[in-house]
């Protein structure tokens, strides 16, 4: 059954990319435990508008955990305390009456804050542009069942392909590393027969782009996996380490 919460929110406010930013504290009352976290922020924003203060900007779209647009640090944890849950799928029943909740944007040099809780994740797009695809033109495809894909490989590929690109891995990693994101795409395509021709170039170029975007290094703390709403395994990182080593030993150089 629903009951209601009164909460104190400490939220990072920053008017634009270059502004200094600061925490501001707000009270919200009568929050139903059935609400999602973002609905709670909606309530706050309606309240702020009525009080004449600009609402808190935050990214969100599908609100069903698949688009990857939402994401914030909630009490120091990416997407809050639940496992395999995006911020939009986090519900207020996870919080206690009277609790103070600290809300911060993803923080990484590669993800500059645009406003309040909104960050620029275009670095992820650029990593994909470096090789996160199979080069096939529309019309070139052979009949779909021409290449059988073993059931286990297809399942493993899908496990990796489930990445929603939200950036929680970077946000949660103490080094702001993008290894899980990059490794998920590398693994997805390396596991499928269709991905073989570009397998080596892909991993070398994607890693080079990842490095140039100034993400941190992976130190294998596996916090990314714990924060990942899509449940991507750090096994993908191990796979990428292997793929990259093999590719470099084979003499493949990055070419961006």
């Amino acid at each position: 059954m629903a009951h209601t919460l009164n909460l104190t929110l400490r939220i990072w406010r920053q008017s634009d990319r270059d502004a200094r930013g600061e925490f501001r504290t707000y009270d919200v009352r009568g929050i139903s435990t059935h609400m999602s976290f973002l609905e709670m922020l909606d309530v706050l924003n309606e309240q702020l508008i009525q009080q004449g203060e600009e609402p808190v900007a935050f990214d969100h779209d599908c609100r069903e955990g698949i688009c990857g647009q939402c994401g914030m640090m909630i009490n120091g944890q990416a997407h809050g305390p639940d496992r395999e849950t995006t911020t939009c799928q986090l519900h207020m029943r996870r919080f206690e009456n009277g609790q103070t909740i600290t809300i911060e944007p993803w923080r990484a040099r590669a993800f500059p804050v645009i406003r309040d809780l909104v960050v620029d994740r275009s670095a992820f797009d650029r990593i994909i542009q470096a090789g996160g695809y199979i080069s096939v033109r529309t019309g070139q495809a052979p009949e779909a069942n021409t290449l059988p894909v073993p059931y286990e490989d297809a399942e493993k590929a899908l496990d990796a392909a489930a990445c929603i690109g939200c950036g929680a891995c970077v946000a949660q990693c103490k080094n702001a590393s993008a290894m899980l994101f990059t490794a998920a795409k590398v693994s997805h395509l390396a596991l499928l027969p269709q991905g073989q021709p570009e397998r080596r170039r892909r991993v070398v170029n994607m890693v080079a782009r990842m490095d140039s975007e100034q993400f941190g290094n992976c130190t294998n703390t596996y916090e990314c996996e714990a924060a990942c709403p899509a449940g991507i395994s750090v096994g993908t990182i191990s796979r990428m380490n292997r793929e990259y080593l093999k590719a470099r030993l084979a003499g493949v150089e990055p070419n961006l």
């Binding site: 923080r107 103490k174 100034q214 080593l245």
Partner: protein, 251 residues
């Protein structure tokens, strides 16, 4: 390091040789790190040097274990190391290279990683629920600290045994066995050596399994053998080294 115990005392010339080795390694490593193009290449070197150092630790521990068989065995073992001085120096140079490369890369990546975050979080908590050591003792969060402590211990250890620079130990009239006993008999040294061993165990508790992950060998998080094997190795080594300061008086 128990590699140069034979000499009654380390000569000033030998100390200059070590200083030269260090300088040469610093230059070598700085060139090497500059040539490591990608973050993954750094990881590989970090892992390989770490694993090689683990191999050295095992040999070192076997050497230490000679103490259990009495002074004669131990002294004979120490002498045997000095049979071929030139080979020993080459080995020492290689060993120093592993340390310098490992520490240098650790410092460089730690700096990069700090910079990659930018502004720090006001509040930060782990999300892994299986951290047996708890949030504040997780070894992976303290690799730089534990590494620096081990580094400091290493300097002390080299000073004690290799450089032979301790004024409170009369090096000239001691066999290697007596030298070890004398050093470990000093109470604060005893504590320092135990602490050093504990930090070593803590460091390796993450480092060993992590190396396998970095080299793409298995999935260190899922593969129990790698995960627990790494932890078991770490604490066996720590126990092995840590026990000597405690029992040295009885040997």
């Amino acid at each position: 390091m128990n590699v140069s115990l034979l000499a009654a005392s380390t000569s000033p010339a030998e100390r200059w040789v070590y200083a030269g080795m260090l300088a040469a390694n610093l230059v070598l490593v700085s060139v090497l790190v500059g040539r490591l193009g990608s973050s993954l290449a750094k990881k590989y070197v970090m892992s390989l040097t770490g694993l090689a150092l683990c191999g050295f630790l095992v040999i070192h521990l076997i050497g230490n274990a000679m103490m259990l068989f009495g002074a004669e065995t131990y002294n004979a073992y120490a002498d045997s190391l000095h049979k071929d001085e030139a080979a020993l120096k080459v080995g020492e140079f290689a060993l120093l290279f592993l340390f310098v490369a490992h520490i240098w890369l650790g410092l460089v990546t730690a700096g990069n990683n700090r910079a990659a975050r930018g502004r720090r979080y006001d509040e930060e908590h782990v999300k892994r629920q299986d951290r047996t050591a708890g949030e504040f003792l997780a070894p992976d969060y303290w690799m730089l600290v534990s590494g620096l402590v081990i580094g400091a211990f290493l300097i002390l250890h080299l000073w004690d045994f290799t450089i032979e620079g301790r004024p409170d130990i009369g090096y000239s009239d001691k066999t290697p066995f007596e030298k070890a006993k004398a050093i470990l008999a000093v109470p604060w040294t005893k504590i320092a050596y135990v602490v050093g061993s504990v930090f070593l165990g803590w460091h390796l508790g993450h480092g060993v399994a992590s190396s396998f992950q970095s080299l793409g060998i298995g999935n260190a998080r899922r593969n129990r053998a790698i995960r627990w094997g790494g932890v078991a190795f770490a604490w066996l080594v720590a126990l092995g080294f840590g026990i000597f300061p405690l029992i040295s008086a009885y040997l």
